[in-house]
Amino acid sequence: MIPGYTSPSMQAAQRQAIPKLSLKHISKNFHTKTGKFNAVEDINLEVKAGEFICIVGPSGCGKTTVLNIIAGLEKPDGGDALVDGTPIKGPGTDRLVIFQDLALFPWLTVSKNVEFGLRLAGVSKKERQERAMHFLKMVHLTRFSNSCIHELSGGMKQRVALARALAINPDILLMDEPFAALDAQTRDILHEELQEIWVATKKTIIFVTHNVREAACLGDRVLVFATHPGRIKQQFQLMCTRPRHIEDPGLMVYAKAILAELKAEVEKVAKEELDYDWRTVTKKPVLRLDDRNLGSGT
């Protein structure tokens, strides 16, 4: 945190009574060639300041739509979306999205990308650079501050996107499957660091993912979305201590329960998308060695 700077989130923390974010009966339709498509319906959610929420759900369940509504990039067709008790009217820098494809700007260097939002906000050059450096330090990328975006690896780009969002000092961080394209090891490291950063900055985070174990690892609360229409099917409150690691045995209990909820949804989607003869493989016998073609010679 920059000295002498009181973030809106700190002020908000003093007004505990009002939830940081609340969604009331949110619905959203999309119009496609085949007709009206109900993306999300009757979403109700209250998020406390500083809470870490994970959303899991099958593809097409409207997770991203919900994020976009919170970000103010899309308008709900029905219901109210409130931040600190005031309705969301369009995008605001108090709610920043880290997009799935990151959306870093290739014409800017790493530090200029991090400074982007600050420049728009009219922050002076000196302060901009200081803050960019501060957050690049937080994600351990100061050595690459003058690099071009295309020179970075996937994990490094992820860090830049995180620094860019944090530099603007939002209250709410909306992360849309940010680690989906990374390898497992890089993801592990980022899970740990994200938890650290979350603790250090006290942001409210809403994190969308496909990965149940990732959700169990990161979230204070995990929401399982159902599809057609997208809605909240089940919520899990996770009581595990932090910092957590994705392999923690304590988390497995939760992950299993979440997965059970999710699996039913994923199968429902598969049934709609695939041929009629498709069915889940429930009890497949263990493969014999010679089925696997391991070159055993038999």
């Binding site: 820098t93 999205v97 959306a103 700007f105 014409w107 420049r119 728009l120 906000a121 071009c148």
Partner: protein, 239 residues
């Protein structure tokens, strides 16, 4: 090749007045620069093209950006721009002569008509192809209106704009030469006409060489650097 040319000329494979030898061309070239007639011509031509090109650049960018952002304009004037681009810009000369009279403005107008439409069209397509994700990211971080245009849309469309600028330059250069050949009192095109009228083929060839060299220099130095800088920054080399 130059040696063969010189030898062929010496043994008289063709009438000497129709096609001069390289040494004669070189002599005319040096002489032309020495008595400043070439320099005056180059300055006159460069002045026209720089003025014409700068106006095209500003107008083309402005029009291309508005076509790309305002659907109504694109639907009405966009197709007109595409249609007009098929017209070789020298066809505007008669009109320009009537509008502006026998002066610099007429030629500059022809240059503008050569360059500005290709810059417009390239800018428009660049703007329309900006990934929506970047626009959302910009909006999310507080970009609106002209800030959005300057900080996100124009930089994102830059690769396409540079291509348009390069193409626009070569169109402008061609249009200028055509214009000067048809009508001009000074300039490189005029030197070509003069060479023809005086039956001075070595002057014609010498001027042609100057035109090629200027065209190459601008392309290699200005646009090649511009493009390379952009490509390195974006990392387009690897793709």
């Amino acid at each position: 090749m130059i040696v063969t040319w010189e030898v062929a000329h010496r043994i008289g494979l063709w009438p000497k007045f129709l096609f001069p030898s390289p040494s004669e061309v070189l002599y005319t070239l040096v002489n032309g620069f020495h008595d400043k007639s070439f320099i005056i011509g180059i300055i006159a031509s460069m002045r026209r093209i720089v003025i014409g090109y700068l106006i095209s650049l500003v107008a083309g960018l402005a029009l291309g950006l508005s076509f790309g952002r305002i659907k109504f304009l694109e639907e009405t004037l966009g197709s007109l721009a595409l249609g007009l681009q098929t017209l070789p810009s020298i066809c505007w000369l008669p009109l320009a002569l009537l509008w502006f009279g026998l002066n610099e403005s007429a030629i500059i107008f022809v240059v503008i008509m050569g360059a500005f439409l290709s810059i417009t069209i390239a800018t428009e397509s660049g703007v329309k192809n900006v990934p929506p994700l970047w626009l959302r990211a910009g909006r999310n971080m507080g970009a609106k209106g002209h800030r959005m245009l300057l900080e996100v849309i124009i930089p994102a469309a830059l690769p396409s704009i540079i291509v348009g600028m390069k193409q626009g330059w070569s169109f402008a250069w061609r249009s200028l030469m055509a214009g000067e050949l048809s009508y001009a009192s000074v300039g490189l095109g005029h030197l070509l006409t003069l060479g023809r009228e005086l039956n001075d083929m070595s002057q014609v060839l010498a001027v042609m060489i100057v035109i090629i060299i200027i065209g190459l220099l601008v392309d290699r130095i200005v646009f090649a650097n511009l493009e390379r800088g952009m490509r390195e920054r974006w990392g387009l080399e690897q793709v």
